[in-house]
């Protein structure tokens, strides 16, 4: 099994210094859990964040330099030497950050894609078993045909950073000539420094709170039960249960 991890470079949102996004480190972890050869692939010039990412378990990162559109460049490289498995992060950090690249790549290669992958299981007859992480701890098993693209869940286990591995990692520059394609459909607009806006504050159950003062315990229990049920936190009563 040969896996390729797509690395975007990236910066740390707080300090602005080079750092790989959490999802890409998780992707390296998933690739390592499969075993076999694992390499990094980056469309663009070798940047320091790639070496940091490699410190989490990659010996070599190929940097495709000189091309135009990242999707076209990556698709061509993957088409020329198809791996069994391509892993990506959920979202880059430092560019467009839309999380579209893996999807556009899958569309172009006509490979299947699954996102939110927290674990990879066994392969059998060209199918790979994976576990998808959903909101609030829920999980969903899935199988996908190889070759495929998997986007790692940010919370998938991250392999530790080893400084010496980062130091010794090879960032190999591969010159490519850009092919123009549809690729990313860029959105025009005006760019400026980020301004944090407060989120809307959730008013619990729409409006001011209800206060029940000194009820007797049975009354309190009934009100609590009905409220939790109305919120959908409690299964509906069984047939024939007492008052509603």
């Amino acid at each position: 099994m040969r896996s390729v991890v797509l690395l975007s470079g990236g910066i740390d949102p707080v300090s602005g210094r080079p750092a790989p996004p959490a999802g890409e480190i998780a992707a390296i972890g998933l690739a390592l859990s499969v075993g076999g050869a694992v390499g990094g692939l980056h469309a663009g010039a070798p940047v320091p964040a790639l070496r940091q990412a490699a410190g989490h378990g990659l010996e070599q990162v190929d940097c495709l330099q000189g091309g135009g559109d990242a999707v076209a460049v990556l698709a061509e490289a993957l088409f020329a030497a198809p791996p069994d498995l391509v892993l990506a992060g959920r979202q880059a950090r430092g560019g467009e950050d839309s999380g579209m690249l893996p999807y556009l790549l899958a569309e172009r290669l006509d490979w299947p894609l699954l996102s939110g992958v927290v674990a990879i299981g066994a392969t059998a007859e060209g199918w790979l078993a994976v576990t998808i992480g959903l909101a609030q701890g829920a999980r969903r098993p899935a199988q996908i045909r190889l070759p495929c693209i998997l986007c790692a869940h940010d919370a998938a286990p991250a392999p530790p950073f080893v400084f010496d591995r980062a130091r010794r990692a090879v960032l190999r520059v591969v010159p490519v000539t850009g092919e123009e394609g549809p690729g990313m459909v860029a959105v025009e607009g005006t760019e400026r420094p980020y301004r944090a806006r407060p989120r809307l504050i959730g008013t619990a159950s729409g409006g001011g709170g209800t206060v029940l003062e000194h009820p007797d315990p049975a009354e309190a229990a009934r009100v609590l039960r009905d409220h939790l049920r109305a919120l959908g936190m409690l299964a509906p009563p069984r047939e024939g249960a007492a008052d509603a």
Binding site: G10, I11, D12, P13, G16, Q91, G94, D97, S98, G99, M100, Y103, E107, L114, I132, L134, A135, Q136, R140, P141, A142, I144, R145, C148, V185, V187, G189, T190, E191, R192, P193, Y194, R199, G202, T203, A204, G206, G207, G209, T210, V211, L212, E213, H214, P215, P217, A220, A221, R222, V223, L224, R225, H227, L228, L231, G232, M233, R238, A241, A242
Partner: protein, 352 residues
Amino acid sequence: MRARRDPRAERARCLVPGGARPRLARAGEAVVGAGPRERAVISIEAPAFWVAVVVEAPDGRLDRWARQSVGAARVLAGAEGGVVALLAGTAGGDALGEAGADRVVPLDGGIGPDAMPEMMLAALAPFVPRHVVLAETPAGGDWARRLAARAGWPIQTGVEMLSARQAIRPVGGMRRERAAAPARVLTLPRDRVASHGGTRREGRWCPAPERPADRGRMRVGPVVTATAAGIPLAEAPFVMAAGQGVVDFERFHALSRLLGATEGASRVVCDAGLMPRAAQVGASGTVLDARCYLAFGIAGAPQHLQGLGKVEHVVAVNTDLHAAIVARAGLSIIADAQAVMPALLDLLREEG
């Protein structure tokens, strides 16, 4: 708990001044059926354009995020556009109309992610929507990107501010932002756009699109929900927490098991070793992403409330009417936790 309605004033607002004729909007929409006991509903026949929204309702309820996505579609539709909701899950047209949808197209729930873009495109085809809004949930975010990639539509993900004319989203590692005209596809994080607060819309049911052929490239199994005790606190949908006001921990644990709630605690309780440190909710503990937080004997110190940032519904049981948590709670029971817990246990056990 909802603000009291004034049906007479609502009806009056729907009539042309001084007359008994319903107000007609520019797009030919009429406010109909506002009899004294009925609620006003806006129904719209042929709007100038459509805005679509994909709504997830896996358990038959529209949560706040889903309502906010419909609200965002309404913002983009303005006065002249109509909103069509593609419903993934089960929910009534009533609930969707209330949330602001003019039409509802049900999507086949059993369909896998691979066939989802085809299905959405089939559902959208009769409407040719100007925009498609999706919540940036695990599933919604995935569908949005599949749709944009398949159709070759421009997309803006994680839009933090939205008006009919522009959408603003962070770029460059959250250090910069870009303001641009709203794109064809938009995804919406939680709590960025208010849900629809205006008059109810019709939510008229439309036929479901044909189910596209499966490409046989992936098989997706059923969703396995985590057991309450097994969910990491930060991901838990329902958290029941103990503060200094709880002394009967045996009953507390029994109740959390029966309710299927994940356990949390205030710092003082963790400091005392009555609950594990991992259960601490707050600034120096875990920040919750729960839908419901049930607090027994918790005062609601600022450091504790910081952990409730994203919680939708807070329920408090406290002996002190003036505790800060009471101000944050949708329902507060002013009573002794040691008396309420056993009563609730008995009631739930009685139900079986």
